[in-house]
């Protein structure tokens, strides 16, 4: 029996050693289309002062091939959905007879910088809005069209288009003023343990980033790269769909995409990445 234990210990130790070295974020530079250099690793913003020494995009936690796939718009499968959204952008829908382009013209011009500041306060509505909420407000109020499903392909593709034209610009969401209360609620949620596994967001993404979880690397859980094209499900994934998956994995009943809890969490998590470049649509495993 002693021999068995020794063999197991040796095998186990070698697996952990190999794994630990492999899980560290990779030092590399993300340059899109050989022209746009993105900030993917930078000083910690105010939101994570004392909690993280620096903030790192999930891009650094991925393998060589996955990282390369994001560096060229043709190799990035997320860009197919951007092209589909470009068609949707020009398509008239709803009783008002308008398309996105009717009011906003060329998305490449009018949407530049928009992704970087969401979620943000909407004065007229008196609420914190995610970009999805704003897209649907535009559709229902201005176009008189049906809202899009919060995490559906049409919505996520539209977000990919809007994000893509801000790539390289720093995430800069406000955390004070009228959003302060929502931001605090999001922070509270981030540090609250949920589910049978009793895990908070922080347990994985603050305390253990750079380590392995089973055969995968734990990142800081930054959301500057959303929407994310995942090799796993070969489609674009939205922030709230990812939140839902994470909370589910703690074996908890999850909040719904678009719920006030997830809106607050998105605001808080986005602010943890203030200073990182907008990357969406990014490529992850």
């Amino acid at each position: 029996m002693k021999k068995t234990a020794l063999i197991t210990a040796l095998l186990g130790a070698s697996a952990i050693t190999a794994g630990a070295a492999w899980a560290e974020p990779v030092e590399d530079t993300l340059i899109i289309n050989e022209e746009t250099e993105l900030t993917t690793w930078t000083d910690a913003p105010a939101a994570v002062e004392g909690a993280l020494p620096e903030v790192i995009s999930g891009w650094h936690f991925r393998g060589t091939e996955t990282r390369a796939m994001q560096a060229d718009d043709f190799d990035n499968p997320g860009m197919i959905f951007v092209e589909q959204a470009m068609d949707a952008w020009d398509t008239v829908e709803g009783e008002a007879g308008k398309s996105c382009a009717s009011c906003h013209g060329d998305a490449g011009e009018s949407m530049k910088g928009v992704r970087a500041v969401y979620p943000k306060w909407n004065e007229d509505a008196g609420e914190v809005r995610t970009l999805e909420m704003q897209v649907n407000a535009c559709r229902t109020e201005n176009m008189k069209a049906e809202p899009l499903k919060y995490t559906g392909t049409d919505m996520t593709s539209m977000l990919a288009l809007i994000s893509s034209v801000s790539r390289g610009m720093p995430i800069n969401v406000a955390t004070d003023g009228p959003v302060a209360e929502t931001w605090e609620a999001g922070k509270e949620l981030y540090y609250t343990r949920t589910g049978q596994l009793e895990l908070s967001c922080a347990n994985c993404h603050e305390d253990n980033y750079g380590r392995m979880i089973r055969a995968d690397h734990l990142s800081q859980g930054q959301i500057n790269g959303f929407p994310v094209y995942r090799l796993k499900n070969t489609k674009l994934n939205s922030v709230h769909a990812r939140f839902k998956g994470c909370v589910r994995d703690t074996r908890a009943e999850t909040f719904s995409p678009g719920s006030p809890e997830f809106v607050a969490l998105e605001l808080y998590v986005a602010s943890r990445g203030n200073g990182l470049s907008v990357e969406g649509p990014s490529v992850r495993n």
Binding site: M1, K2, K3, T4, A5, I7, T8, L11, G12, S14, A15, R62, G63, T64, E65, T66, M69, M212, I213, R214, A215, D216, H217, L218, R230, L231, K232, N233, T234, G245, C246, R248, D249, N285
Partner: protein, 138 residues
């Protein structure tokens, strides 16, 4: 040394961690090779198969084949339920006898490429790709 049930289980788990769980190559893969080569001998020089040592997800694994002077290159995933992946036939305007694509691997296994050269000979290359399983429900 007496083996307890727990001891055997622990040892088994340790072995899995260390070596992964290789997929068994199917007879269908060998049949596909025979159909392509007609059972001819295969050389080992002149065909490069580039594949990651570790694939982050088996759903999208980038590979490249390159065989200067090849007429056609067959790619097989020997551990997939059906081993066929693709066959590249190069025409007169091919700028090189190479191609890249993205493939699905059902698990850790050997990816095999076989080039049919202009003189009718065959060359084989093989690459073991370890497919990892994600941390959070994949």
């Amino acid at each position: 040394m007496t083996m307890t049930r727990r001891g055997v289980m622990v040892m088994g788990a340790g072995a899995l961690v260390a070596f992964g769980l290789p997929m068994r190559a199917s007879a269908a893969g060998e049949d596909a090779i025979a159909a392509f080569t007609g059972g001819a001998d295969m050389g080992s020089e002149g065909l490069t198969l580039t594949a990651p040592e570790i694939a982050e997800n088996g759903n999208t694994v980038p590979i490249e084949v390159d065989a200067p002077g090849a007429e056609a290159i067959l790619v097989l995933a020997m551990g997939n339920p059906t081993p066929g992946v693709a066959e590249f036939k190069f025409g007169p305007l091919a700028g090189s006898h190479s191609a890249s694509t993205r493939i699905r691997l059902a698990g850790t296994q050997d990816v095999v490429a076989i080039a049919k050269m202009k003189d009718g000979s065959f060359v084989k290359a093989s690459s073991n790709v370890k497919v990892t399983i994600g941390g959070c429900g994949g």
